[in-house]
């Protein structure tokens, strides 16, 4: 189990710098996947700013000071201040951290649920698989955003409810992908060999199938992150995400939209950070997907 995962993580990062395997177009096949590399750099820069920035700016994110409300960007307040006199740069950094945290946690939770549900369905096969997949199909035909809004309405605002709602929405594609992987892998020689050797079902699944499906799981987990940032921003903007003392990029943009006529920078800076984060994560995710499975290249995004 150990060596497989290790080689995988190595090739995972190396894959970003390798030429695309599908050389059916005239794309120069000697060049690395430049968009993905660009995405990686962008993400690194954003993360450094977000985590080290507040140390340099020396401001607190929720320090209200009514003597300095709505100031324009200046040397002291790099992104200006908001209507309560809080330093916008620091708030954007903390907001981006929260958005990143929510998105990453969603990806992890979703992968876990997806592996358990999809793995169980795929490995068992037969009517278990049939029932589980029909249930999935039914839930998946509810429009994603509406489903998330409903859940958030009941759970109330907050980070925990956000995680529940986002996980409830995004586990479904993951479960489908994992199921497909399991169905293919369980017919492989090494799994049959393990079964013949009399290994228990759980040892086969955890020790032999999951490590081999890990590549696809991680690629899909990566693709969930930008979508989750988007969804979190949208929910926070509507007023269903994080609530007031906390701020995420979405709620900051929401606040900024309210005062756009007079203080446009209050919208521009949080907006810029959302765009940079999502753009970089999208580029990385797409690069990985193209590398790992050129067939998925064709299917495009799902526009939710």
């Amino acid at each position: 189990m150990e060596p497989i995962t290790k080689t995988f993580t190595q090739s995972y990062f190396r894959s970003l710098f390798l030429p695309l395997p599908n050389a059916n177009s005239r794309q120069g096949s000697f060049f690395p996947n430049r968009p993905a590399v660009l995405g990686l750099w962008l993400l690194a820069v954003v993360i450094i700013i977000v985590f080290l920035g507040p140390m340099v700016s020396n401001q607190m994110p929720d320090q209200v000071d009514l003597s300095r409300t709505n100031q324009a960007p200046s040397q002291e307040y790099w992104f200006g201040t908001d209507q309560l006199g809080r330093d916008l740069f620091t708030r954007v950094c903390y907001g981006a951290r929260l958005s990143l945290f929510v998105a990453l946690s969603t990806a992890v939770i979703v992968s876990f649920i997806g592996v358990v549900y999809g793995g169980f369905a795929g490995y068992m096969g037969g009517w278990t698989d049939e029932v589980l997949m029909r249930v999935l199909e039914i839930i998946a035909s509810v429009p994603f955003l509406i489903y998330a809004i409903l859940l958030m309405t009941v759970l109330g605002p907050g980070v925990n409810s956000l995680l529940v709602a986002l996980a409830a929405v995004y586990w479904m594609p993951m479960a489908r992908v994992v199921r497909g992987q399991f169905i293919n892998l369980k017919e492989e020689g090494f799994v049959i060999a393990a079964r013949v050797l009399g290994l228990s079902r759980w040892r086969i699944i955890l020790g032999h199938i999951v490590p081999n499906a890990l590549g696809v799981i991680i690629v899909y987990g990566t693709l969930v992150i930008p979508e989750a940032i988007f969804a979190e921003a949208l929910l926070s903007y509507i007023g269903l995400g994080v609530s007031s003392p906390q701020s995420s990029l979405g709620s900051l943009v929401g606040d900024g939209l309210g005062s756009i006529r007079l203080y446009p920078w209050q919208l521009f800076f949080p907006a810029l950070f959302i765009i940079l984060l999502v753009l970089s994560l999208n580029l990385i995710g797409e690069g990985l997907r193209e590398y790992c499975d050129p067939r998925f290249f064709r299917q495009g995004g799902n526009g939710e």
Partner: protein, 312 residues
Amino acid sequence: MLRLAFFLLRRLVTCILAMLFVVTLTFFMMKALPGGPFSKEKKLPPTVMANIEEKYRLNDPIFKQYSDYLWRIAKLDLGPSFRYPGSSVNDIIKRSFPVSAALGAIAVFVALTLGVTTGLVAGLRPCQMADRILVFVSAIGFSVPSFVLAGMLQHFFSFRFNLLPAALWGSPQHAVMPVIVLAALPTAVISRLVRIQVMEVMQQDYIIMAKAKGLPSWRLILFHVMPNALQPVITYLGPLIAAVFTGSFVVEHIFAIPGLGKYFVTSIHNRDYTLIMGVTIFYSGFLMAMNLMVDLIYALLNPQVRYPGWEE
């Protein structure tokens, strides 16, 4: 033909079960919500409370309430709005949905034409100037949330340069910015789909053959490339409609368009639970019906389609 019927029947059953899921979810959510619909800051006198509970049948056993609720929904009655007394959820939908539908239809049309044209232009000459620019623009298009785009457009076109009205609804000028915002992401998705598909189709033998026979390029593109390259676009129609209509929640809110999406977001702010639930059910039903229609169109256009679930 039998396969088609089976496929459609299966989709229909799935949709009905999904609707049942949504309706059940909304019902138990209403019950689970703290406080109940009539707990306001000012306490109502107990007799008034009792009367209200009697009127909305909040005292019946829960199973009775559930079956009543199901029956009511089956009769397409979504109940009263708690915050707009005197108007039912049906009234509000009837009044505001035509606006959303008009906006959505324009946005779908724009996204389709723009996405297909740009995808075609890019796919026919991959890795050249136009293609590079389009790929770059669509990568950005994928990464800008609709409400950010809406805010930026408002800032530049209305407040800075005063070209377009900032909000409200009525004249064609009012529709420009909302349509741009709604169509942006779907256009990027369609453009990318078409681009990749065109790139692939262009390498097929029958295209090389047609070229070798000296077919004029407009005929080649119109009759040989397009029909084959547009198939994935049809499968994307369902998600496209969903994206545009759920996207209109935010867009109508920002641009103050009196459509259903604006009521929906306002009802979330107001905690008008019956309206939230009613609109949720309505949208779910509408989008599922649209999806069903798209499936039917796809099956009719392409008799070779492999119906999922049949071969298994």
